[in-house]
């Protein structure tokens, strides 16, 4: 069974459409959405509806920090730009859309898989897995063989052996990676709606459960359209510009 792992969609309809189309063409029959469906982009309502539709058909979805912020409303500690985006996004969403976000769990999964937005050791504190140290901490906090998380926007793959040896890897898009049963793995597919590794193409990953084979993908999408919508919505122009450069 092929599962599409999609995270940090950030209200970017063009990117999400491209990713969903690519995943369908590659035979994905299940989906897991790893949080941050809103924030930054101009299509929060469309993205939330799409995720909700998949969830009603059995997809997994977990809460991200941007989703939580939009549900709770802006906090005094937020910088003005973030406050503006949160307020604007809240205004775009209907009561039922906000209710859907509010209902999202911190973690999901089951069996040998764990889905969580930030990390497995303190999912609600939104700490970043910026390197091996946090990755090992997260892997040690769960029994799941495969942890899939978002929050970090750059694709990465971490692994840990039974003897405590860890490794990290910057994946090459399109190369299938067999995930050995001899170790446990933490997979960061990278952001679909706001890639930040210098490549503007949307990130996601496909996991084939039978052979435990993971493939990271990059999907080009209509950046110009997504960017133009951000500008015409009156959101900070910086958010429109960075999509062009993937940073």
């Amino acid at each position: 069974m092929k599962i599409a792992l999609i995270t940090d969609l950030h209200a970017n309809r063009e990117a999400v459409e491209a990713v969903l189309g690519h995943a369908a063409s590659r035979g994905a029959i299940r989906h897991a959405f790893l949080g941050d469906f809103v924030g930054y982009g101009a299509d929060p309502g469309w993205v939330v509806d799409r995720v909700r539709e998949f969830v009603s058909q059995g997809a997994a979805a977990v809460l991200g920090n941007h989703d939580q912020a939009v549900v709770q409303g802006p906090l005094p500690s937020m910088i003005p730009e973030a406050r503006q985006v949160v307020e604007w996004t809240r205004a775009q969403l209907s009561g039922s859309q906000l209710d859907f976000l509010a209902s999202l769990p911190m973690t999901a999964g089951g069996g040998d898989r764990l889905y969580v937005h930030a990390n497995a050791y303190a999912p609600g504190e939104w700490g970043y897995v910026t390197g091996r140290m946090e990755a090992v901490r997260s892997l040690q906090a769960t029994n799941a063989r495969f942890t899939f998380c978002g929050h970090m926007h750059e694709p990465r793959l971490y692994h840990l052996t039974g003897t405590g040896k860890s490794g990290d890897f910057v994946p090459m898009a399109g190369t299938p990676i067999p995930l050995s049963m001899q170790r446990r793995w933490l997979v960061i597919p990278g952001s679909a709606g706001q890639p930040r590794d210098g490549n503007p193409a949307a990130c996601y990953a496909l996991f084939e459960t039978d052979s435990a084979t993971l493939t990271f993908h990059r999907v080009p999408y209509d950046v110009a359209a997504a960017s133009a919508k951000i500008r015409s919505a009156g959101l900070p122009p910086r958010l429109a510009d960075r999509l062009h450069h993937g940073e």
Partner: protein, 482 residues
């Protein structure tokens, strides 16, 4: 939430002949090694194909043995990603949650080890083994994998002649995670064959495999290993500053060109070795094109003073990193310029030269082979030409060199260091295009450049050489027009 450590594999009863594992019947244990055993197996079941297969089963030495487990994990990851005649075909695998194994094609034939037991061996056989193994390594490197444990027992020869590389337990695939990166505190490899950069923990340079092949060629040619068989890290590090006795000092009949090739493989700096396995294979197949340097003349190891200087250099020196198998191999291509120097329009020859020059400028690691075909008639009635053959041959060589001269000058390729990058070849054939295609295939050429049309006799008699070459070649072909 303490994690459950992934299995220290449970102790299993030993495997017995006749036993069936995941549908494969064990027939006979054919090899017992330090890390793994090999079993001859067949698919169980009445109508199963009787394909010769081998099952590799890791030896788990008491509880937990990271070395053999991780090596096996690496091989299970890499072997299925490989294909072609130079690796055993992957069939199936079983992970450590059950009986761990890899089932693969059984190669009919022997490993090279037997030839090493009787080394020194005839030099033409040394050369043949050398280019076969270099060809296999090039194929592996093009599939993004560096072997990192090239040694006699890890090379088999098929009955059809091709070299087959086996045992990928220490290998590195540059598009997959390196599971061994963190695993060992000692250098990984086999003592006598390990490259200096492997001694320094570099695992991403395909030229490490050329070093190991150099050790093998040295051993086959002289009967001795260039650095013995050290077992300590200190012993391993000695190769960072000591150079081996020149092969010709041990066996006088070794030609200077072969000493040049072997000692180049054994250079401490990867940048001073051949830049790809294909370039090494090319030299082994074209001895007359090997440019002799001081390496060829060496009659003794360097002085103590020189070694002392190198010892100082080696302290704290960090090996330069490369982009891995793919990048290094891709930046060291072999270009072939096929030239109708006798017949083509001068303007066209110039245009071909401009194109070649641009390609060489963008690929500093590239080699250029300049080729002319001397047409022979199918019916051997042309006695006058036959008698005149050798002078025609020389004449074509002279013209090829004349054609290349402006290019070599512009790119500063005329010096000793650089001159080996350009070589000249005259083939005799009745079918020019066929000869060019064959030559390119045999020498693992990456890119053929030739002119679109020729006003000479070739075009009139044979139609368009360029279109036939473009249609039939395995590699990239650039057809230059004016």
């Amino acid at each position: 939430m303490a994690s459950e450590a992934p299995a220290a594999p449970p102790t299993r009863p030993p495997l017995e002949p006749g036993q069936v594992v995941d549908g494969y019947r064990l027939e006979e244990r054919t090899h017992q090694g330090g890390m793994a055993n090999l079993w001859r197996v067949v698919r169980a079941g009445a109508d199963a194909p009787a394909e010769p297969l081998v099952m590799k089963v890791p030896r788990i030495k008491g509880g937990e043995d990271p070395a053999s487990i991780v090596g096996f994990e690496v091989e299970q990851m890499i072997l299925p990603a490989l294909s072609g005649p130079h690796v055993p075909r992957f069939v199936a695998k079983g992970d450590f949650t059950g009986q761990p194994y890899i089932v693969m094609e059984r190669i009919a034939g022997d490993s090279l080890k037997a030839r090493f037991d009787v080394a020194p061996i005839p030099l033409d056989e040394v050369v043949t083994i050398g280019w076969k193994v270099a060809t296999a390594l090039h194929d592996l490197h093009r599939q993004h994998v560096i072997h990192l444990d090239v040694k006699p027992s890890n090379v088999m020869l098929r009955e059809t002649g091709e070299a087959v590389l086996v045992d990928f337990g220490l290998s590195r695939h540059d598009r997959l995670p390196d599971l061994l990166e963190e695993e060992f505190e000692l250098p990984m490899g086999t003592g006598p064959y390990m490259s200096p950069e492997q001694v320094q923990f570099v695992r991403n340079d395909p030229r490490s495999d050329l070093y190991a092949l150099g050790v093998m060629l040295y051993h086959l040619a002289t009967g001795a290993r260039p650095f013995g068989a050290p077992t300590s890290v200190r012993g391993l590090r000695r190769r960072l500053w000591q150079d081996p006795a020149p092969p010709r000092a041990l066996r006088a009949e070794i030609p200077p060109w072969l000493q040049e090739v072997i000692l180049r493989c054994l250079e401490v700096q990867p940048a001073r070795r051949h830049q790809s396995a294909a370039q090494l294979a090319f030299e082994l197949q074209n001895p007359d094109q090997v440019v002799l340097t001081a390496r060829a003349d060496r009659t003794a190891s360097s002085s103590r003073l020189a070694q002392l200087r190198r010892w100082f250099d080696a302290i704290g020196a960090e090996p330069a990193s490369t982009g891995g198998a793919t990048t290094q191999t891709a930046r060291s291509p072999i270009l072939l310029a096929a030239l109708d120097v006798g017949g083509a329009d001068p303007g066209l020859l110039e245009a071909v030269r401009d194109t070649v020059q641009r390609l060489l400028q963008t690929e500093p690691g590239a080699r250029l082979a300049c080729l002319a075909v001397m047409k022979t008639n199918l019916i051997g009635a042309d006695d006058l030409l036959e008698a005149d053959g050798s002078s025609r041959h020389v004449n074509l060589l002279v013209q090829l060199k004349h054609w290349a001269h402006p290019l070599m000058k512009a790119l500063d390729l005329t010096g000793d260091q650089q001159s080996g990058r350009v070589t000249f070849h005259v083939l005799e054939a009745s079918d020019a295009a066929g000869a060019i295609v064959d030559y390119a295939r045999k020498n693992r050429v990456d890119h053929i450049v030739l002119g679109a049309r020729s006003s000479g006799s070739l075009r009139r008699y044979l139609g368009s050489v360029s279109s036939q070459v473009a249609a039939e070649s395995d590699c990239t072909v650039t057809v230059v027009r004016t």
